[in-house]
């Protein structure tokens, strides 16, 4: 029986390597990333100001906010560079039959 906490995001080929897509579910926005070693997910809004990270730059394991260049580690959510101070929430991701799922709760 499917675990209801795993939400389907889309197919693995919907994200290019070292890139991300935005995923909205209920009232929340997430970012799902494809890095060289797999898929990851974080909250979709920067912790500094309410800006969508979907327009940010993914470099190696980091996402940089497009508005003020706050940087977060995608895997841990850690805020690495100001003006970002608060960490970004991260979520478990799994791939099943070429589909990406994230566990939100």
């Amino acid at each position: 029986m499917a675990d209801e906490n795993w939400i389907e995001v889309g197919s693995t080929d919907s994200i290019e390597e070292e890139d991300l897509i935005r995923f909205d579910h209920q009232d929340k926005t997430f970012c799902v990333y494809r890095l060289t070693d797999g898929f990851y997910a974080t909250d979709g809004i920067c912790t500094h100001e309410a800006v969508h990270l979907e327009d940010g730059l993914v470099m190696d394991d980091e996402i940089e906010c497009p508005m003020h260049q706050g940087i977060f580690n995608i895997k841990s959510g850690e805020a690495l560079s100001p003006p970002a101070c608060d960490d970004l929430k991260t979520y478990p991701v799994k791939v099943d039959n070429d589909k990406i799922f994230i566990k939100i709760n």
């Binding site: 940010g56 906010c65 003020h68």
Partner: protein, 409 residues
């Protein structure tokens, strides 16, 4: 004995230097001497979220007092009135003496002031620090008509904030475009149009001839005899490096404190960082003085490394931003040295960027978009400029093509 490091100035550059020094040196005595009663805080929100009451004082600190204590960084609220470079001594207003082994000067810049007439000069508001932002906010309560003098970042950001608080804004700029010192006219024209669509009156090419106070209002006469009635006047007409303390000393000054690419001044063990420093930029092979968030931070970090004995060259590509209404403007590099201009995008909603190229290499770019729409491409541009990459301008102008692919790893 532990090395005594003093940092003169209590802003962003000072703090980042202090924390970097602590990271590399557990034992040094690190003291920041700041003229404000507040520990270092972020200035960009002062003209935006702070005026809009979306953020308060406590939200602005870079780190808490507890963090400073844990990292053993002393913050002393004091005014230094004399620096004795011969004997390495700083003297404060209350006649205390501080002896340093190493001195970092991060005194920033101060507001250029208007000189109109003595009756009103002291009643014109400026915005650089928290106290001034609080004064403006308080004074603006219940006032409707606001005159802003100066069409640079700060004037336009205040215009945007007060417009969102339903005030009537007139903005007077002496130049023939907004943000003329650094922003290309293509982007400046878009910003002007946006402000006008929001109801702000933007007046270019005009100077203030006279200001008269009538009861609680001001009558402003422009050089073409236009009259403006205002309840409050705020000016943002640029800034000058804070170097008064060093005039007639052996510290080399020229539009700020002259430093090399390692933040070193002409005096041994004396460094400078941030707005106050006119530094040598190795990539552009010239001296420049920058006033931006990114520069204050990175230059402070670089000074901190060099003070810690880690020889580090400062070669950041300049980058700055301004937020007005829901627009985000970003500039990277330098946009006044080019032989080709390439436009990317047609709609502000998706972001519009102008690239300035010379010999097929990007020297600078300036973009405007809703929220963060231009951020990724501007960031990629910084990297391309840094690496001196030859670029295909047809790819730059095609918004359906991602620019990531231009970055060579």
């Amino acid at each position: 004995m532990n090395k005594k490091i003093f940092i003169l100035g209590g802003g962003q550059s000072a703090l980042y230097a202090a924390r970097e020094i602590r990271k590399n040196n557990r034992d040094a005595e690190i003291t920041i001497l700041g003229e404000e009663k507040f520990i270092p805080y972020e200035r960009p929100p002062l003209s935006k979220d702070f005026l809009l009451n979306k953020r308060i004082d406590e939200d602005l600190y870079f780190c808490s007092k507890e963090t400073l204590e844990e990292e053993k960084i002393n913050y002393l609220n004091t005014i230094i009135i004399k620096v004795d470079f011969e004997n390495n001594i700083l003297v404060s207003e209350d006649n205390k003496q501080y002896t340093y082994d190493t001195l970092l000067i991060s005194t920033g810049s101060k507001n250029r002031k208007l000189n109109i007439n003595s009756e009103v000069d002291d009643e014109i508001f400026y915005l650089r620090n928290l106290e001034e932002a609080n004064n403006i906010k308080e004074k603006a309560l219940g006032k409707k008509n606001i005159l802003i003098i100066g069409g640079g970042f700060i004037g336009l950001e205040i215009a945007s904030s007060f417009s969102q608080l339903n005030k009537n804004i007139s903005l007077v700029e002496v130049g023939n475009q907004l943000m003329g010192r650094i922003i290309p006219n293509q982007i400046a024209d878009l910003v002007k149009q946006f402000h006008e669509n929001e109801g702000n009156k933007i007046i270019l090419n005009k100077t203030i001839s006279e200001i008269t106070k009538i009861n609680e209002k001001y009558k402003i006469l422009l050089n073409d005899n236009t009259e403006i009635i205002s309840d409050l006047i705020v000016a943002g007409i640029g800034s000058i490096p804070n170097v008064g303390l060093f005039e007639n000393t052996k510290l080399k000054l020229d539009n700020g404190i002259v430093t090399n690419e390692f933040c070193e001044t002409n005096i041994k063990n004396v460094y400078a960082s941030g707005d106050v420093s006119n530094f040598y930029h190795p990539l552009y092979a010239k001296y420049m003085r920058l006033e931006s968030y990114q520069h204050a931070q990175n230059h402070g970090l670089c000074a901190g490394k060099n003070i810690s004995g880690i020889k580090t060259e400062y070669s950041s590509i300049p980058w700055m931003w301004s937020d007005q209404f829901n627009l985000n403007l970003q500039l990277t590099g330098i946009c006044d040295d080019y032989d080709e201009i390439v436009e990317r995008g047609k709609r502000i909603d998706d972001g519009i960027i102008y690239f300035f190229l010379k010999n097929k290499k990007i020297k600078g770019a300036c973009g405007l978009g809703i929220a963060g729409k231009v951020g990724r491409d501007i960031r990629i541009t910084s990297k391309l400029t840094e690496k001196n990459t030859i670029v295909d301008s047809s790819l730059l102008s095609d918004q359906s093509q991602k620019l990531n692919k231009l970055i060579q790893k």
